[in-house]
Amino acid sequence: MHPIAKALEALFEKHSWRYEKRDENYYDFTFNCDVNRFNLYALIGTYVNTLSIYVHMPFQVPATRMTEIAELISRINYNMTLGNYELDFHDGEILFKVSQSFSLHEPHPDEIMILLDCALTMAQTYFPTFGAVLYGGRSVTEAVQHG
């Protein structure tokens, strides 16, 4: 088992968090947060020894609003220290992604917890911002200012 996978599974087991292992380097899991339930997945890049954690934001951007949401994401991402939002122009899916490369030793579960914490915090922080634009009638600049 890859050292990152070992550390990831150790973290899940420490907290009794459920997960699905889709294959050796791909894990699915879900967190219920105050604002919403979030589906996440973790991908291990074995060649470059990286862990990427993705959060599926529970919104789908219609084709007619892609440019608007792309601008929103650009504004949110600007000055973001760790991680970034991504928009799939093919299907309107919004993801938050945070990645970290590790040296060849097995990372400590706490190092992974930092990434997971970042992913969930950012997803919860900007969840209302996306909602305000997609459903709430706010402009991108208004939503970012008030978010």
Binding site: N36, Q60, G131
Partner: protein, 161 residues
């Protein structure tokens, strides 16, 4: 294998849809509608005659909105011919459920397809109203009025995985 599982697997092969089998009588899959992406769970009962299909909505109800969302879902459910919305008050999870008793017979694949479609169409249609309550401060009545005045909904949605 029970005949409902057989039919599910045959339908998915026919349509080239992906799924995961989680346990003997439980299937997990996902579909995208116009407004969101939905996790689906299909449960078959022990006698293999009843299929319960659940579509989990991507938005859930934070605690302070659960009363309003509950009212909205009640209004949505009223007069709904097939299926109903449910909300888990413990965590705000919202889902649409359709249960069909096939009486021990193998379901017709097109019938099964329509059941899945119904779940997807209803979830996708009423998801917008939840967004309006959460993010635009609509009342449940306003949200239902917006959603249900939206034209002919019986048209089949384009099922995309």
């Amino acid at each position: 294998m029970d005949c409902i599982s057989e039919a599910i697997e045959e339908l998915f092969r026919r349509e080239n849809w992906k799924y995961q089998k989680r346990g003997e009588r439980t299937y997990y899959f996902g579909f995208r509608g116009e407004n969101g992406r939905y996790d689906f769970w299909a449960f078959i009962n022990e006698t293999g005659s009843v299929l319960s299909l659940y579509a989990l909505l991507p938005l859930s109800a934070p605690e302070k909105y659960r009363g309003d969302i509950a009212e909205y879902l009640h209004r949505a459910n009223y007069d709904m011919m097939v299926g109903n919305f449910e909300m888990d008050f413990r965590d705000g999870e919202i889902r649409f459920k359709v249960t069909t008793d096939f009486n021990g017979e193998k379901p017709d694949l097109d019938h099964l397809d329509r059941v899945i479609d119904c779940c997807l169409v209803m979830s996708d249609r009423y998801l917008t109203g939840i967004g309006l309550i959460l993010f635009r401060s609509h009342t449940p009545q306003q949200a239902i009025a917006m959603v249900e005045s939206g034209g002919v909904w019986e048209e089949r949605s384009h099922i995309v995985q």
